[in-house]
């Protein structure tokens, strides 16, 4: 059978495997040299990919920062207990001592009726009208600060337990605005997911189109290599590596864009943070984020070129 004879003419297996790896290496270097030889095209493609990816990347970091800041807010959640007007100050202080020993309570603060009235008189500017009151309408107040580990759920539990106490008239958890904020953040997070998916598609199309043009430009080369016995896989390889390079370089560019953008923002933001007497630190890409970003953009490059190659390479046949 002639088939077996054909097989005999190939180099031995071990050599073929190393030659296979060698061709992967050659394709890698060859596609890189192609990129190097056409810097204008490459820079434009890579810049477009970089800009495209920097948008979801920037949003992601924005949310990461918001998350960190709102984490600070969470620990400042307070529960205000307004006690029954009939409770004496001595009893109220006793209650405060008791609450301090409860689970998930970090600290408590007692504000007596007189203190409250005094504070109100000073801060509200209604001093004179308050003086006309025959009795103090304000109750004793205990401000309870839940422990650091307390999330919204345990804070609510604590609230319910405190509310159940007979001495407590009203217990109020100052989290409603925080919950609104979290909901807004959640909406923003989902929007980022949608934006990321859309822009990933855009990158896929950009790379696919670049590789398609690349295939067209090297039409003659593909014909010739087919005629001298190149398999489809052999012809495909440099194009796939080309896509990998585009994706990887685009990822690096987007990382640079975001880093520079955050550097530009960080000055004014620090001033803002000073005005609010907080010490917010701007978070940029962590090393892990960077690796994920590059891995994703590289994968997108591979996928984009794979689509282009699958669609266009088989159509090219010598005639």
């Amino acid at each position: 059978m002639a088939g077996s004879n054909v097989r005999r003419r190939k180099p031995p297996t071990a050599n073929r495997i190393s030659a296979y790896l060698l061709h992967h290496l050659q394709s890698l270097i060859f596609s890189l040299s192609k990129i190097y030889q056409a810097p204008a095209t490459t820079i434009m493609t890579v810049a477009v990919i970089g800009i495209t990816l920097s948008l979801p990347g920037g949003f992601y970091l924005f949310l990461k920062n918001i998350d960190a800041i709102s984490g600070d807010f969470r620990s400042s959640t307070q529960i205000s207990l307004y006690l029954d007007l009939k409770i004496t100050e001595k009893k109220a202080r006793g209650l405060e001592q008791y609450i301090r020993t409860m689970d998930h309570v970090a600290s408590t603060r007692f504000i007596s009726r007189e203190q409250s009235l005094e504070e109100f008189r000073q801060s509200s500017g209604f001093g004179k009208s308050i003086d006309t009151l025959s009795s103090n309408p304000l109750p004793h107040t205990i401000v309870v600060e839940p422990g650091d580990s307390a999330d919204t759920f345990t804070a609510r539990n604590l609230l319910n337990r405190l509310q159940a106490m007979p001495e407590v008239e009203i217990a109020k958890l100052d989290t409603e605005w925080l919950e609104r904020l979290y909901t807004i953040i959640e909406i923003a997070k989902r929007s980022v997911v949608i934006i990321t998916i859309l822009f990933a598609f855009a990158v896929l199309l950009i790379i696919g189109n670049t590789i398609r043009l690349d295939i067209q430009n090297r039409y003659q080369e593909i014909i010739v290599t087919k005629l001298i016995g190149a398999t489809d896989a052999f012809i495909r390889r440099p194009f796939l590596y080309g896509g990998v390079w585009y994706g990887m370089l685009g990822g690096i560019i987007s990382w640079l864009i975001v880093e520079i953008g955050y550097m530009a923002i960080s000055g004014p933001l620090e001033r803002l943070s000073l005005l609010y007497k907080s010490d917010m630190n701007l978070i940029t890409y962590s090393f892990q984020d960077f690796i994920v970003l590059i891995a994703c953009s590289t994968l997108l490059g591979l996928a984009g070129s794979w689509i282009a190659v699958a669609r266009h390479l088989n159509q090219i046949e010598p005639t």
Binding site: N15, R16, L22, K226, G229, D232, P318
Partner: protein, 232 residues
């Protein structure tokens, strides 16, 4: 090596390039295909090179039927053939050496082996000193010799040449033809399509003459040069 049994090739346009052609080119033989342009020379070569498929009849290369060869086997079969084109079909983005080395790289030879064989092939066509040159800097004759070096570098069993001297002056043409004769002398089967009748007369080799798709002269039937079938 090559067998055609009543091969007809009709293109979708209705044009009949080959009409009922039968021939047998044995191992180690050399022959010319002649005829006017449009007589079917190129189509005949394209069927052997697996670029076209016969509409009717059977074409065999080394007893492998070319009519219904699966697509994925085509590259491996082509590795047994060296093809030389009228317009050289060199890749102008890389030096001469890389052009010649390409068939070996495709077949997965080790780099040392690739270098050794590529230089040997370039030496055979007298262009070893040009290995680092870019093809664009070479003359037409030199480019054609690079094309030949690329076609023979992997020691194919069969050499196909389509008008290899088409654009060359008579002296260069003779040189090129002589290279084919030399390869034939070391056992390579050679099939050259050419309309350069003067040159063909000079080299005493069998002729196949096509006219409007029909084989009107077949020297191979008389003096079967007694090659043995199968790969060497």
């Amino acid at each position: 090596m090559i067998e055609f049994h009543n091969v007809t090739k009709r293109y979708p346009s209705g044009f009949e390039a080959l009409n009922n052609v039968s021939l047998h080119l044995g191992d180690g033989q050399m022959a010319y295909i002649t005829g006017h342009s449009g007589a079917g020379k190129s189509t005949l070569l394209k069927i052997i090179a697996l670029i076209e498929k016969p509409t009717r009849g059977q074409a065999l290369l080394n007893r492998i039927n070319l009519n219904n060869l699966p697509r994925q086997r085509i590259p491996y079969l082509r590795r047994n053939i060296g093809i030389i084109f009228q317009d050289h079909q060199l890749l102008f983005d890389r030096p001469v050496f890389d052009n010649v080395a390409l068939p070996l790289q495709i077949q997965g030879y080790r780099p040392q082996e690739v270098a050794k064989r590529s230089r040997a092939a370039l030496d055979k066509v007298g262009l070893l000193h040009k290995e680092k040159s870019m093809p664009i800097t070479l003359s037409g004759g030199e480019q054609q010799r690079v094309g030949i070096a690329r076609a023979v570098v992997h020691k194919p069993m069969l050499l196909l040449a389509d008008e290899p001297t088409g654009n060359l002056d008579p002296i260069l043409s003779r040189e090129i033809m002589q290279i084919f004769v030399d390869f034939n002398q070391v056992g390579v089967t050679v099939l050259v399509a050419s309309h350069d009748l003067g040159l063909i007369e000079e080299l005493d080799k069998p002729r196949l003459t096509l006219n409007a798709g029909q084989l009107i002269l077949n020297d191979l039937d008389q003096g079967d040069a007694g090659g043995h079938d199968g790969w060497q």
